[in-house]
Amino acid sequence: MLLEVRDLHVEFKTRDGVAKAVNGVDYSVDEGETLAVLGESGSGKSVTAQAVMGILDSPPGRIAGGEILFKGEDLLKMKEERRRKIRGAEMAMIFQDALSSLNPVLSVGAQLGEMYEVHRGMSRKDSRAKAVELMDRVKIPAAKERVGDYPHQFSGGMRQRIMIAMALALEPSLIIADEPTTALDVTVQAQVMDLLAELQRELNMGLILITHDLGVVADVADKIAVMYAGRIVEAAPVHEIYRAPAHPYTRGLLDSIPRLDQKGQELYAIKGLPPNLLAIPPGCAFNPRCPMARAVCRTDVPPLAPVSEERTSACFFWKECLHG
């Protein structure tokens, strides 16, 4: 297994108490596999990714427990120096907003080349040549002429391609893409996702795709992990989840996708708000918003139980959900 996250807990110290952002997350990605992590804002999907990358803001953030195994080695027990060498070279991250994730005072060529300077000790001239190569690879037209341009001179889609190029520079075995298409318009979104999927296949990388867009997921992901209030509530191969969700939250998410045959009708929305991470409700965190909630949901935390061989759900009543 390329990456295995086991029982990860992350907390943030705030003025009002400890916010439990991640409460026992397990997931794994293999080479050439795409895992989509789905969830609302504040569900802990980005924080999990930051913990994996080792770029959690700490303080206030703190990894309170768990293991992150990368190629069998626990990243959390690793020396910072060694971890830094892994970052960028073996695992890389693509951020949501490419404009704010690129340094405005450096040309894109300098930023792409930086990867080679940091990890390979290349000279500036050689790294510049590599930068052009990379820009070609992510299909930026006229790479040679544009290598000296600054981030703001590129369109949104091109900037996101540059982010992808940066992440791919050293051909890492794992890529984490944190909502890579959220800041783009719909047509460009599809192009960027296609490019990412194509490069992933080519390099046989593991890809963790963090998103809240179910439409993006269906085409590219192999499996899905749905997160809610810092826990995984359902994990399954992508087609099974779309066919029949085994958790009422997943069902709610799927029902809130606009569909053509529902034209003119009101769009479904999950009632209520995500829980306050300072005071997660007792029992199942989803129970105040759940249409199927019963007495036991308010007292006991449902374990992540196997539904089938490759599938798990953290709902006491997954059977009802699956067949209802």
């Binding site: 951020f95 450096l106 940091v118 192009q191 296609d194």
Partner: protein, 346 residues
């Protein structure tokens, strides 16, 4: 910063869709992308690019379109700002005469003739004479050297010390940050004139360095605060996290990603501070604890002239005027630089 629209010549509008994904357009030397299936991905976006690839119809402007970073933008704006042009010409003039005062003043500022004490303007001596019979014009010209030296050295010292300490404190945070902030507060608490009277009255050196050192000592906390604040702002940017995620170490992040994005406010404050440091040197010299004779300084001359203001106002007018003009020039420069470097004010 919006990108300028590409030049919309009549030949740009072509048929339905306006784009032929296969061949190069009439004015394009190369096809924007290949013709393979996957390459088509880029086609739509290539349209939205600011300039067409290769030497197209707008090819001549390609070179100057390049590299409009914060700095080149700021420079672009500065050159058109009359305040900047006037103040920088004035400063350039001051620097030249402080290096080569002989260029415009042939006399010796220390060669005085007591018989001419407090005489008014005469041919060859447009500013008249002071109490000691020295030529006021020559002394005013030579006085620039002390002011400019103190101003520039003190600013450099305070800016380097302040931004290094403030930058490190802001970047690493923690207890060193708290310690530095409290130490800076202590230095802030020292009243400038009182501190100057106490510290500098024990110094016997005749050079400018004790004054420079004192100004640096009192000046660095101001710069350190600004540097700390802007480093804290800059390090929260996404690109700093991105650089970290790509494996850059602290040194590289601080020098390459944080510092260039945090330096603008420091430059602004330092430029404005330069003017006030020059005024401070004159104040200290006026009080008799700054520069001492035989050093020629506007502060000393103002001090000597003050009691004679009713007999010989010209003795006060010229050094004081030169001082005001110099301080004004640096503060105007600082203002212009701030306007150019702060995008929110544009």
């Amino acid at each position: 910063m919006r990108e300028p629209e590409p030049p919309e010549g009549p030949e740009r509008a072509e048929g339905p869709g306006g784009y032929d994904p296969v061949g190069p357009r009439r004015h394009e030397a190369i096809s924007p992308t290949g013709q393979g299936g996957a390459m088509d991905l880029a086609l739509e976006e290539a349209e939205s690019l600011e300039k067409g690839p290769g030497p197209g119809p707008a090819g001549g402007s390609g070179a100057q379109e390049k590299a409009r970073s914060l700095w080149s933008d700021a420079w672009h704006q500065l050159r058109r700002n009359p305040v900047f042009v006037v103040s920088s010409l004035l400063i350039l003039f001051l620097i030249v005469i402080s290096v080569w005062p002989q260029l415009i003043a042939s006399g010796d500022p220390l060669q005085c003739d007591l018989s001419k004490s407090q005489q008014g303007a005469s041919p060859g001596h447009p500013f008249g004479y002071d109490t000691q019979g020295c030529d006021v014009y020559t002394r005013t010209v030579y006085g620039a050297r002390a002011s400019i030296t103190v101003g520039i050295c003190a600013t450099l010292g305070a800016a380097l010390l302040g931004s290094a300490l403030g930058g490190l404190a802001g970047f690493f945070g923690g207890w060193s940050d708290s310690l530095l902030s409290r130490v800076a507060d202590i230095f802030f608490g020292i009243p400038v004139v009182l501190g100057g009277l106490v510290f500098l009255s024990v110094v016997t050196s005749n050079t400018v360095w004790p004054v420079v050192g004192f100004i640096v000592l009192l000046g660095w906390p101001q710069i350190a605060r600004i540097a700390r604040g802007s480093v804290i702002t800059a390090k929260q940017n996404d690109y700093v996290q991105a650089a970290r995620a790509l494996g850059a170490g602290n040194g590289r992040i601080l020098l390459r990603h944080v510092a260039p994005n945090a330096v603008a406010p420091v430059i602004v404050v330092a430029t404005i501070a330069l003017g006030t440091y020059i005024a401070l040197e004159a104040t200290l010299s006026f009080l008799g604890v700054g520069l001492r004779p035989p050093t020629v300084s506007w502060g000393i001359d103002i001090s000597n002239a003050a009691p004679q203001i009713r007999n010989a106002p010209h003795m006060l007018l010229y050094p004081a005027g030169a001082l005001s003009l110099t301080v004004l020039a640096f503060i105007m420069l600082g203002d212009a630089v701030r306007d150019a470097l702060d995008p929110k004010l544009r």
